[in-house]
Structures are given as structure tokens and as C-alpha cells.
């Protein structure tokens, strides 16, 4: 199903137990990724970046996730300006779009 994200609109989508989040990466622009660190499953949206760095630190164990790794794991999507239309797995009736602050995006 298609879910539309934007920094000033929906930034998070849940599909059942899965959570997807719009992350702003300095290297590849906005990406929609699973909100789950591949180390121990920490919530990447709550991570942080050091200024100018192209790696995101997971809030649980400080596991570093590079922008390139985020790109490789990103949902297939099209960015149009600041809007991202992403193709998410699951049934449309299971989709919930949320407007949440994303600390990992610096705000």
C-alpha cells in the first residue's frame, strides 16, 4: 500500500506491529525506514546524529547506522519535493499514519 509522509505532515506509519518512520538523511535526503535498529531493535527515530555526520546512533546501545545502510533498507519510495510516497507492506486497513516529532531528524 502507498503511504505519504512529509516533515510537516505524517512522519510515522504503523502497520500492525511494524513501525515506519520518515528519516532525514544528509546524504540521501528523506527516507522511509523501519523504526527498528538491526542491532537489538531500538527505535531509530529517537536516535541522534552528531553534527555533520552521516551516521545515526541508536538510542539503546549507540549502534551506528550509516546513511548508506539506511538507504539499502529503505522502503521503495519516491520523494517529490519534501513529500515521500512510500510503498509499505501489509493491508491498507492496518495502516495508521501519525504526526510525531522525530528527534533523529534534529527537531
Amino acid at each position: 500500500m502507498i503511504a505519504t509522509f512529509s516533515p510537516d505532515g505524517h512522519t510515522v506509519a504503523t502497520v500492525g506491529d511494524d513501525r515506519f518512520v520518515l528519516l532525514a538523511t544528509p546524504t540521501h535526503g528523506p527516507l522511509v525506514v523501519r523504526d527498528r535498529c538491526r542491532h537489538r531493535g531500538g527505535p531509530l527515530r529517537l536516535g541522534h546524529r552528531e553534527c555533520g555526520k552521516n551516521k545515526l546512533s541508536c538510542p539503546w546501545h549507540g549502534f551506528k547506522v550509516s546513511d548508506n545502510a539506511l538507504l539499502r533498507s529503505a522502503a521503495p519510495a519516491v520523494r517529490i519535493g519534501q513529500t515521500v510516497r512510500a510503498l509499505l507492506p501489509g493491508a491498507p486497513e492496518a495502516l495508521r499514519l501519525l504526526r510525531m516529532e522525530i528527534p533523529a531528524n534534529g527537531g
Binding site: 500500500m1 502507498i2 540521501h28 535526503g29 529503505a74 522502503a75 521503495p76 517529490i80 510516497r85 510503498l87
Partner: protein
């Protein structure tokens, strides 16, 4: 297989102030001052060569700059360069018509145009490379789900353009102006598509060819889609001649035509082309259904809507054909690495169409409410005391070819008289002391109707 990433170290220069070819192109007599303000046709295409410096000095455009005068001129030139690849014949049997034909297709003019083409394409379309960007790992199943889902989104709800037209003070006039904008595309419909039907790429080519011959009425001239549109135009008293309304095309109307030539003339963009093709074929059936209803409501029972009614049915088939008989065989042949380009083409055209709809709505409001744009009193005096006021004196019959301004402008006739035109059928007479506010990006031109006329134009820069 070894992946070749080498690129020829050549980047075509952006259009620049030093480019003499572009200046030579627009200085051609076919593109100079017309005999009358509405003059246009397949060969004579007034372009306001005096404005060429705006194009030459322009940076690469952004989405917000698609309705500037530089964009209008660049798209007029680009349409002309692309259409020198199409065949138009002399419109009349006289020697003058044949001379126009010969001049339009002269080797010299074509060669100069080709020298300018890439620079103009970068200026007008490179912004899309940044604006639309596919990411992530795409699969065939994912692409199909995405494209079908997007078509369903695009086809939901009422057309904003149709709603605007029906809400106009004069819906019949608004509907005719809408048809004029379509005529730049529909009278040469599918010509860009034909560029993609040469070569050899398997079943996808045959799928595309089937759509093409359908557009061309399987060789039955009366059934050719452009012939059907000619019937529509004639039924409401409009000309069916190619580019009869040339000066009145909006820059975004031309951008839609040019985009298809752009992705069809450069075959490295073939995959974008088939994505854009799906967007048009997959949305036209619903849009045309609504447009047919709108045209009947606005223009009455005599309007010939067969073009729209036929598309409302046939483009459902074309949508399936574009996906199943063009895109899927091409992806099957080339693999999933081409999918992001297909998705990109779909979304690029969606972006352009949305901007064109917005511009068209602005045009309909401007032409429909032209008389309301007259102003007088202190607002005019204040504008004329501003720092950017230009004064022009012109003589009887002098024509200002339709153009747009990049900022709001106050236009005041100081002496004499003129006719102020906003499109082929919307104009007002202005005499000494009359003023009008011209919003930025809104098309207009003038014809002097007195022996001499002096008018002043004040830039309302703060509105830029």
C-alpha cells in the same frame, strides 16, 4: 557482466548570454513581429525576440519559475525545435505558404535549433531531477502495486479545473479558453509517442505500437484522435488549425507537450517515458469523463465531445495496455534496475500536470475577471511613484506579442488608446487615464489603436 560507468566528458553548456545560436534562432523572420496579435500557425510562431536576454540570462528554472517570461519563451522555442521533427504542410495553396514551409524546415534553422536544444532542456526540465527522486529497493510486484495505487489516488475526486470552469462568470468562454490550451497538444497528439516506436525492444514495442495506431485511428482519418479534437474545436467556433492559438498558450501547457518530446527524443530517458505514458493513459479516462460533462454543461448540447467520450472509454484499455503490454514486457526484458526510472517518469509528469492545472486555473480566473482588474485612484498614483516605472510610446497598430511578467505590474495608459488582450477572446479597450493590475505570470498583450499611445508600467516588486 562488467558494469560500464564511463561517461563522455561533455556537459552541454547551459543557455548563456554568450550563446549566439539561440539569438539567431529567435531572430528568424518566422518568429518575429506578427501581422495581428493572435497570429499563429504551424510555421509562424511569434516569440518576442526582444525578450531573448531574459532566457539567455536565466539560471536553470525551478518549480516556482515555470510561469516566468523566460520559461514561456524557452518553452515556445523548445516546442518549435521539437516540432521541426514533425510534418506540417503549407496551409494554403499560395506561394507564401510554401515559402513559410520551406523556411521552417530549412537545414540552417533546424541545425541552429538542435544546437540550442540541450541547453534549453536543461534550463526547463533539470529541476525535475532534484524534485523527484525514487529510492529504495523496487521489485516488479512493488512497482505494479505502487503504480496502480497512485493511479487510484489520482483518479479520485473531482477535477479542480472542471470545478473552476463551471464556477466561472462565463463558463462557455472559460471552456473555450480551456480547449485552446489543449489544442497545442491534442492537434498533434501522440507525435512524441511515435519517436519511441522505432528500433527493437521486443514485445513492449509492439504494445506501444498498438496504442499508437489506436491514437491514429487505425488509418481511418475520421477516427484519428486529433481529428476528433478538431471536430470539438469547430463545434464551438474555434479554429482547428495547428497552433492557430500559438500566442495564447501558457508556459505550463507547452511544458506538458515538451516533456513528452524531451523524454522521447533522448532514449536514455525511455523508461521515464513509459512511466509518464502510464500516468496519462491511466488518468485521462477519468479526467476526460469529467471534462465531457463539464463541456456540455458550459457550452450546451451542440459541443462535440466525442473526443472526450471516446477517451473516457478507450483510455481504460490504454492504461492496462501501457502497464501490461509496454511496461511489464520492458521490465521483464531489462530487469528491476529500470523500475526507478519508470516510477520517476510517472511522478515527474504528475508534478508537471499539477503545476499546469494550477496555472490554467489562474489563467481562467484572470481572463474571466479581466474587467475587474481595472483600477483607479491612489493605488495607481502610488504605483507610478515607485522606483521601477518604465514608459513606452508606440504608434498605431503596434503589437506587443503576448507575454507574462515575473512580478505584479500596474499598467497605466497616459495618452492615446490601446486594446489590452488577455487571451484570444478576452480584451478591454483602454484610454488615457485607464489602468489595470496585471498579476505576475498572467498572459497579456496589447495593440495600439490611436495614432500614438504612451503607457507606463510600474513593477509592484514587493509582490514578487
Amino acid at each position: 557482466m562488467t558494469v560500464i560507468r564511463d561517461k563522455v566528458e561533455y556537459l552541454p553548456a547551459p543557455v548563456s548570454i554568450r550563446d549566439p545560436a539561440l539569438r539567431r534562432y529567435v531572430d528568424h523572420a518566422l518568429f518575429g513581429q506578427p501581422d495581428h496579435i493572435g497570429a499563429g500557425g504551424p510555421f509562424r510562431r511569434p516569440m518576442r525576440p526582444q525578450d531573448i536576454n531574459q532566457v539567455l540570462a536565466s539560471p536553470l528554472l525551478t518549480a516556482r519559475q515555470l510561469t516566468t517570461n523566460a520559461a514561456l519563451m524557452a518553452h515556445r522555442i523548445l516546442t518549435t525545435i521539437y516540432e521541426q521533427d514533425l510534418v506540417f504542410l503549407p496551409q494554403h495553396r499560395d506561394a507564401g505558404s510554401f515559402a513559410d514551409f520551406s523556411a521552417f524546415y530549412s537545414h540552417e534553422l533546424r541545425d541552429i535549433g538542435l544546437m540550442c536544444r540541450t541547453g534549453l532542456e536543461r534550463m526547463t526540465f533539470q529541476w525535475l531531477d532534484d524534485e523527484v527522486r525514487p529510492v529504495g529497493k523496487w521489485t516488479v510486484e512493488g512497482m505494479r502495486e505502487f503504480l496502480k495505487g497512485r493511479l487510484a489516488e489520482e483518479n479520485a475526486g473531482q477535477s479542480k479545473v472542471c470545478a473552476e470552469l463551471l464556477g466561472a462568470r462565463d463558463p462557455a468562454a472559460a471552456a473555450r479558453r480551456f480547449l485552446v490550451q489543449l489544442s497545442g497538444d491534442f492537434l498533434t497528439e501522440a507525435s512524441a509517442m511515435a519517436r519511441n516506436t522505432l528500433g527493437a525492444y521486443g514485445p513492449g514495442l509492439s504494445g506501444l505500437f498498438t496504442i499508437l495506431i489506436d491514437e491514429y485511428g487505425y488509418g481511418v482519418h475520421a477516427s484519428k484522435h486529433s481529428t476528433r479534437f478538431e471536430d470539438t474545436l469547430r463545434s464551438v467556433g474555434l479554429s482547428d488549425q495547428v497552433h492557430h492559438y500559438w500566442p495564447w498558450y501558457l508556459p505550463t501547457s507547452l511544458a506538458l507537450v515538451n516533456y513528452f518530446h524531451y523524454v522521447s527524443a533522448h532514449h536514455d530517458r525511455f523508461f521515464r517515458y513509459i512511466g509518464a505514458l502510464l500516468y496519462t493513459e491511466g488518468t485521462l479516462h477519468e479526467v476526460n469523463r469529467q471534462q465531457s460533462i463539464m463541456l456540455k454543461a458550459a457550452l450546451g448540447p451542440d459541443v462535440d465531445t466525442l473526443y472526450f467520450d471516446e477517451h473516457a472509454q478507450i483510455d481504460i484499455l490504454h492504461s492496462d495496455m501501457a502497464l501490461e503490454r509496454v511496461i511489464m514486457p520492458v521490465v521483464e526484458r531489462c530487469g528491476p534496475s529500470v523500475i526507478p526510472e519508470i516510477v520517476r517518469g510517472f511522478e515527474e509528469f504528475a508534478v508537471l500536470q499539477a503545476l499546469a492545472d494550477e496555472d490554467l486555473i489562474g489563467h481562467i480566473r484572470w481572463t474571466d475577471g479581466l474587467k475587474e482588474m481595472r483600477v483607479h485612484g491612489p493605488i495607481v498614483e502610488k504605483a507610478m511613484q515607485g522606483p521601477r516605472v518604465l514608459t513606452f510610446t508606440e504608434s498605431a497598430g503596434e503589437i506587443s506579442v503576448p507575454h507574462v511578467h515575473d512580478v505584479d505590474e500596474m499598467f497605466l495608459v497616459e495618452s492615446g488608446s490601446l486594446t489590452f488582450h488577455a487571451c484570444h477572446d478576452a480584451h478591454i479597450e483602454m484610454n488615457a487615464g485607464d489602468a489595470i493590475l496585471i498579476p505576475r505570470g498572467r498572459l497579456h498583450g496589447t495593440v495600439i489603436t490611436s495614432g500614438s499611445c504612451t503607457y507606463r508600467v510600474a513593477s509592484m516588486e514587493e509582490n514578487a
